[in-house]
């Protein structure tokens, strides 16, 4: 029998990818608008003339930001895999079921309502983005179920409708709100990486990593579910339960990612594609590798975004689109002989 995925192969590949991630993260932490040197960083927090700027920049500006990029990239890469599997569509991305417009609406309401709540020091914008994203995706799921329990097309349509409706709401709110607040909100929504304090990163890391591990435990069942729900049922997989769990966990980690960094597109769409082209569609491998690849990709993209037009910064989403698109095209052309897409 030909080789299928084994725990050994998976462990090897995951370890290599993780090592690569650590390397990239470390390398990128030394790149930025200000040039810093490792020697100066190692000198410690204070220097003769006051705080050591190299140390400050490295530890309190670069490292948190890179950690954040890695977390968000991992979340988006992983949830992209799951949404593509559940919707049986390689063109799905984590925002397709209303998360993007939900987050936008949430932030709009936060800004307009002037709510000042903070959660663990996170600004109200982030909290409301999280609530908006999660609430909307449940709304879409609920509407989609009305069209039939396993009706994927219904779910997609519900997502399209809700996205359109909420986008209109957002535009309405934007037109009656004070212009300065709106600018800030729009800019935030476009996707940005800010250095967060370590508690936020800790909590975010816990949620996202736990979510990815949970999704990994569902991966073997997602394989057969991605083939068809009748196939899955007749093989003995409790489709409704597994789909619900996978959907809930993916929606959750995506909402966490959005609340951390706004909407960064392309990662959840092309990373799963690229990994699938290189390593095949087995979700037990696709999921962890997409998570790690998403992390690497976003760390690199963010590094480019904050250095290429320094001291100004580009929104990360610009880089992910501009880098991701052509890269994926090349991959597709080279490996397309291995793949047979269409049903």
């Amino acid at each position: 029998m030909p080789r299928t995925l084994s725990p050994g192969i998976l462990l090897t590949r995951t370890t290599v990818a993780a090592a690569l991630l650590v390397l990239v993260m470390f390398g990128c932490s030394l790149i930025g608008p200000q040039s810093i040197s490792l020697k100066a960083v190692a000198a410690g927090p204070t220097s003769l003339t006051g705080p050591n700027p190299d140390y400050e920049i490295f530890l309190h500006v670069r490292i948190p930001r890179i950690l954040l990029a890695a977390l968000v990239g991992a979340a988006l890469g992983s949830s992209g895999v799951i949404f593509q599997a559940l919707l049986r569509n390689p063109l799905a991305d984590p925002y397709i079921l209303g998360i993007s417009s939900g987050a936008g609406l949430g932030t709009m309401l936060a800004v307009i309502g002037g709510f000042g709540w903070t959660l663990w020091g996170r600004s109200p914008i982030a909290v409301f983005a999280f609530i908006g994203a999660l609430g909307t995706v449940w709304l879409v799921w609920g509407i989609g179920r009305l069209t039939g329990k396993y009706h994927v097309a219904g779910l997609l349509l519900a997502g399209v409708v809700v996205n359109a409706f909420f986008s209109a709401l957002i535009m309405f709110l934007a037109s009656i709100a004070k212009s300065q607040q709106i600018h800030a909100t729009m800019f935030w929504l476009m996707g940005n990486m800010m250095e967060e304090d370590f508690l936020v990163l800790w909590v975010g890391a816990g949620c996202i990593v736990a979510g990815i591990v949970a999704l990994f435990l569902l991966s073997s069942q997602l394989n057969i579910i991605s083939v068809g729900h009748h196939d899955a049922k007749s093989i003995g997989v409790p489709v409704g339960r597994i789909e619900f769990a996978a959907f809930a966990i993916s929606a959750f980690i995506t909402a966490v990612a959005v609340s951390l960094s706004g909407l960064i597109g392309f990662v959840g769409l092309i990373i799963p594609h690229a990994i699938r082209l290189l390593f095949g569609p087995d979700h037990r491998q696709l999921l962890p590798l997409s998570g790690l690849a998403g992390a690497i990709f976003l760390v690199v993209a963010d590094t480019i975004a904050r250095t290429i037009v320094a001291p100004a910064q580009l929104p990360v989403g610009v880089i992910t689109a501009m880098v991701g698109g052509p890269f994926f095209l090349i991959l597709l052309v080279r490996y397309s002989r291995k793949v047979y897409w269409l049903a």
Binding site: G32, P33, Q34, T46, S47, L48, T49, G50, P51, P53, E56, I57, H60, V61, W120, G121, S123, I176, K178, S179, Q180, Q181, A184, F187, M194, E195, D197, F198, L199, W202, V203, G206, C207, A210, V213, A214, L217, A310, P311, A312, Q313
Partner: protein, 298 residues
């Protein structure tokens, strides 16, 4: 089933331990090893803040400012820390500031928060109206150890403004339309700093109270407002004659508006009138000259 319980338990443990270890404490202002003889290093994140600092005699202390801080000329030589819209935190840190002065814009407040968490001393001032300006000058003076200079600066500005105000106090108010953007047409509303300047200069905003501070308006409202004077601030240092030509040709379509009929459309230097700062009297004087050229001379 067991694996799920295990995972949940691990997550809860992780979150709890994180909260215990990393709970946000009030960051102490960095004690630093700074020798007291060393001059205070100040970073300014907005052009008007820069002008205030220089006006307080603290020009020497400024170790970083934003790219758009271009006045006074001495500012051009200072290290840059991004723009006031997008300040660069790394550049600010590299400037080794003892004090960072920011405006109350969302990005700048966020930056101040982050710097504060790292132990840097930050002062955020919100300059929306003229009163705010005096408060800001005083706050900056306090923070930078220049209280006396701050008081003097405020006095000077106040005196100048009162003088200008008194000159036109008894006269009927001129209706002014202040255009910030031509296509689509946006004007300064009543709830702005610009409106204050107009009133100080003896004018009145042709637009009534609006929902937005800088509303976009249509042709109807322009005609209904019937302004006697139209002022457009421009940033480009192109020849004023050329600017004026463009402006006039645009406004020709509003032939039945008093300002257009009498040719009272003025183009002014944006930097002077849009920065609430030490040049406020100069800005008010500029506006007054547009409103009453006969009184304030050419």
């Amino acid at each position: 089933m067991r694996k799920w319980w295990l995972l949940s338990a691990l997550l809860v443990l992780w979150l709890a331990s994180g909260y215990v270890m990393l709970e946000p404490r009030e960051a102490n202002v960095r004690p630093g090893v700074r020798c007291s003889q060393q001059p205070l290093r100040i970073v300014s994140l907005a052009p008007n803040l820069t002008e205030i600092l220089f006006a307080l005699g603290l020009g020497e202390n400024v170790s970083g400012l934003t790219q758009d801080s271009d006045y006074p000329p001495a500012a051009l030589a200072k290290p840059k820390v991004g723009t006031f819209w997008q300040p660069s935190i790394e550049a600010v840190i590299a400037a080794k500031p003892d004090l960072v002065v920011t405006l109350a814009l969302e990005q700048q407040k966020e930056l101040a928060r982050r710097l504060g968490r790292m132990g840097y001393r930050c002062l955020t001032v919100d300059i929306e109206k003229t009163d705010d300006l005096f408060q800001a000058i005083s706050a900056i003076g306090d923070a930078a150890g220049a209280k006396e200079q701050a008081r003097e600066l405020s006095e000077r500005i106040r005196t100048e403004i009162h003088r200008l105000q008194a000159a036109t106090a008894a006269m009927p108010k001129t209706k002014v339309l202040w255009v910030v953007q031509r296509e689509p047409l946006r004007v300064a509303g009543r709830d702005t700093f610009i409106n204050e300047m107009i009133e100080l200069a003896g004018g009145e905003n042709a637009i009534g109270p609006t929902l937005h501070k800088y509303p976009s308006i249509g042709a109807e409202q322009v005609i209904a407002a019937g302004p006697e004077v139209i002022i457009e601030p421009v940033m480009v240092r192109a020849s004023p004659g050329q600017q004026h030509g463009q402006v006039s040709s645009y406004w020709r379509r509003y032939a039945n508006v008093p300002a257009v009929t009498h040719g009272r459309i003025y183009v002014v230097d944006d930097d002077v009138v849009s920065r609430p700062g030490p040049r406020l009297p100069a800005g008010v004087a500029l506006v007054a000259k547009c409103l009453r050229p006969e009184l304030f001379g050419e």
